[in-house]
């Protein structure tokens, strides 16, 4: 972590301050010492029964959102996830007026639900797996397999861009459909390989010529090695046609859902 930078702030009255909420954790969690969040404010836990909200003071009068705020948020979640068994991120930008509100409006009404959510994510991490086509390889496959595509390509490739527009659109349409078709098959196959190794998954939308699969996986921390070995083997297998990318582990952002 970078050392905290001293920030000169005008004294703020209580009315100018709210609480920025980062995450929900176990009620008895011990936070790493010296953790600071947005505006370099100290981060603390507000407990309510079996759960607690992670918060820091936050000036309500402020310029529009800045990159530093996103990065600070992410750093807090990451640092917590390193030392706690379960961290359930709260959507970025959630601010409550005062500490009473954190307990009475946020935690207390749904303590059981929060508790179950924390339990369901305990000891688990999120990784994101992305598969990308080698665009030229896949386009070659497509041109080779579909005579109409090959024909349209011949028609359009050596004429000026504004000519043969209809044929161009038709060519692009066919190519897009062919890529989709391949994507369905390839992503289905990859998921069949990966899902037995994980507890849950969330698919993210993909489009374009390149992206095949973008999926968040919730994995038991002690099965991460197995998953990564499998991914490494798969990456080698598809090498040349697809690239596999692994992002994480991170806190289970994609699995902190509901409500």
């Amino acid at each position: 972590m970078t050392p905290p930078t001293p920030v000169t702030v005008e004294p703020a009255t209580e009315a100018d301050l709210g609480w920025f909420v980062y995450a929900v954790v176990d009620g008895d969690s011990e936070l790493p010492g010296g953790l600071r969040g947005l505006d370099d404010e100290p981060v603390r836990a507000v407990p309510c029964g079996r759960v607690a909200a992670i918060v820091s003071r936050f000036r309500l009068e402020r310029p529009p959102g800045r990159a530093a705020e996103l990065m600070a948020f992410h750093t807090v979640i990451d640092t917590l996830a390193e030392s706690l068994d379960a961290v359930v991120p709260v959507q970025f930008g959630s601010v409550l007026l005062d500490e009473d509100s954190v307990v009475d409006d946020l935690l207390a009404p749904d303590e059981t639900w929060f508790g179950e959510l924390v339990d369901s994510l305990r000891g688990r991490v999120q990784v994101v797996v992305q598969a990308l086509y080698d665009q030229d390889t896949v386009l070659r496959e497509i041109v080779a397999e579909d005579p109409e595509i090959a024909h349209l390509r011949e028609l359009t490739r050596d004429v000026p861009e504004d000519a043969a527009r209809g044929e161009r659109v038709r060519l692009g349409e066919l190519v897009a459909a062919a890529v989709d078709h391949r994507r369905t098959a390839d992503s289905g196959w990859l998921l069949d390989e990966l899902l037995p190794l994980v507890e849950a998954h969330v698919l993210r939308p993909v489009s374009g010529l390149e992206r095949v699969l973008d999926v968040a996986l919730l994995v038991d921390a002690d099965r991460r090695d197995v998953l990564e070995e499998r991914l490494e083997a798969l990456a080698e297998e598809v090498h040349g046609r697809m690239r596999l990318r692994l992002v994480g582990p991170t806190a289970p952002y994609d699995f902190a859902q509901g409500h």
């Binding site: 709210g18 309500l60 990159a67 705020e69 709260v90 349409e173 690239r243």
Partner: protein, 138 residues
């Protein structure tokens, strides 16, 4: 926890980017996490802007034209543009155009003597799939 840039043992084919920049962080946290009811939250201009899903590209004529362009661009590559020199020469040899670069390769490849001048189709056919691996797409 996110920062795991070191590779584990193995073939190294799996890419493991370490998310560090703003774009990476936005990708990770965008629209994610527990949603707190709006009537409980303080509404802040500017800090809740991250709700637009910028990743979805809606299929449109423009999209199709881009796809067509990518497919046609393939031809240029197959004709030699942007290829490593040895592949380029290889293609020309296979297609019978080897004599154009004879001076450069005569010592190494004396066997290339076929005089088939009808080379356009051959050239395209002779391009190997694997040759495109290193070119990353836009």
């Amino acid at each position: 926890m996110t920062v795991q840039s070191q590779r584990r043992s193995g073939g190294g084919y799996l890419e493991r980017p370490a998310p560090s920049g703003l774009a990476d962080v936005v990708e990770i946290i965008l629209d994610k996490g527990i949603v707190i009811d709006a009537y409980v939250r303080v509404s802040l201009v500017g800090i809740e802007i991250l709700t637009i899903d910028a990743r979805i590209v809606i299929a449109s004529v423009d999209t199709y034209l881009r796809f067509a362009e990518a497919t046609n661009r393939l031809d240029l590559l197959e004709q030699g543009g942007g290829k490593p020199l040895d592949e380029f020469i290889g293609n020309m040899q296979e297609s019978g155009a080897g004599r154009k670069v004879k001076g450069a390769v005569s010592g190494a490849k004396k066997a290339i003597t076929s005089g088939d001048d009808d080379d356009d189709d051959d050239r395209r056919r002779s391009t190997k799939k694997s040759s495109s691996r290193r070119r990353s797409s836009a």
